[in-house]
Homo-oligomer: 171 residues x 4
């Protein structure tokens, strides 16, 4: 296990942080719940949380991705976790990978809003925090306990899961 490191968590929104407006009966964004998730999970990892945006990833443009990339580049930490909507998570991973930063960047998200008693948010946050500590520099997507290389993953919209594009060759 490598030495203790500080982790930077960038929030961009996504299902993770959707809430239910009980007056209108609609879903919306307000604040991030990531700090709350870390507290509930009793995380003792040295991490600082910064909200970059709070949006549905379907509405993300190149401008938004540039903001994420700029923040990854400028962060003094070389271990970065990005919470992100699942719909265009792969696209953002590619965008970040092309910049070839010398950092470990892990994107993660949730299929069910944390506020809906979601368990996949807590579980995914636990996995993603572990992968970002343990993996060599590169860009990854962590979902459902798995970790994918940025260039070998797609979201299977029919089942709501991420999967590899091609089978890896055995070592």
């Amino acid at each position: 296990m490598p030495r203790r490191m500080t982790i930077r968590i960038f929030i961009t929104g996504g299902t993770f942080d959707k809430e239910y407006n009980e007056l209108k009966g609609e879903l919306f964004f307000r604040d991030t719940h990531v700090s709350e998730i870390l507290e509930l999970g009793r995380s003792k990892v040295d991490a600082s949380v910064t909200t970059l945006m709070m949006m549905d990833s379907l509405h993300m443009t190149a401008a938004h991705r540039r903001i994420i990339l700029d923040n990854c580049r400028m962060a003094r930490e070389d271990r970065i976790l990005v919470t992100h909507g699942t719909d265009t998570m792969v696209e953002t991973a590619k965008f970040l990978a092309k910049a070839k930063l010398d950092k470990t960047i892990v994107l993660t998200g949730a299929m069910i809003p944390y506020k809906f008693g979601s368990s996949d948010g807590l579980f995914n946050m636990g996995s993603a925090l572990a992968f970002v500590q343990a993996l060599p520099h590169g860009v990854y997507i962590s979902m459902n306990g798995k970790c994918f290389d940025w260039d070998n993953v797609r979201k299977n919209r029919d089942v709501g899961e991420f999967e590899e594009i091609r089978r890896r060759k055995s070592l």
Copy 2:
């Protein structure tokens, strides 16, 4: 990220699996909830769960640890997760490490029973599953999002957390 691997999960009990007997008002063990936790967390990791014992780790003897070791040795998988009470987790980690198996073995547990709406169980399971996939062969303890080498960790009973015995030297 290494190739996809199958993970073996050995259950030994611990707070993770304690339940509340509502007729007697006492805590007790019945079945493991690890499969339930994996389902709630929507884990898609290829894992098989085997219950070895279901006990408070304060009552574990060398005989129990030998059972855990034998099962780790005989498992065809080289990625093994062991759920364990936190009180003697470090002792079991040492016992397993001395056998120098050529495997990655991660021990994890919880401070609050899963059945009590515990979030640290889900979070810890997410982290431990990630570490067991990502780390090189060796024996580790994964708690609170952190991962410790077996020979550099102790449980701080006053605060209920695991901590390093000595600071690592920076790389």
Copy 3:
């Protein structure tokens, strides 16, 4: 306390039973969760649950209300609980009251879907089941632990609560 009675529960939908479609990120109806709520609450009340419809109460027409009324009239039980969306609950209560059935009919609902870890569903169900057992014949709305006569209640949309139209005179 009156003698033990059987209670009939009619389901019409409403926020109570909304679910989150994780593939589409939208809210929708599937099955009712009322039996699940009763089980979680460990209700031992003698009650039978019948689903009449599963809809947003904003879309309810006179035809739907007639179905509810007909079922209330035909039920052999004289203690009836109706789960209902909050938006037009008052309208349905008036519709039922005009039929002057010799029964105790209590309408209740929730502000947050049960599946979102809602606690007001459990609490409201507990209250409504109690009121339907304890109150004399008539039509009532039970929300937030309170009970309102059908002709002295309105939904305050700004705060998402039900309130009396006029203050009652003290006894």
Copy 4:
């Protein structure tokens, strides 16, 4: 439905308020969670909460019951809810009933601690609050959505439920 009334809630402890000490792995009492339960259930009932004691009802003596009775008598409200351990709830109900106060007093409890994600606490609190508003003066026990007269109820320890001693005659 009678006019709006203020309700007094007296806390005496019981399973409702048990917590899990994660350092010792034991159950213990700290503060009451009743206000938290009312908030989660979005109760809008006019109620004030007073903690009289915080104990396992197995350890209650006549002196404790006298404290409860004195507080019921001195309260300016005539609608009183008492949270109580289930083991001797019937005994306390009898003790209170003998004083023949001209008030509606409802005792309620839980089989599972609220902090363990208990749903019966929320449900029972919803029911008990409704019964205390709706029933004529007298002493009652409200559990599992049912309400029992103080002189016709016993706890069935084998199944952990309250039941009538004799069947009521039909009206």
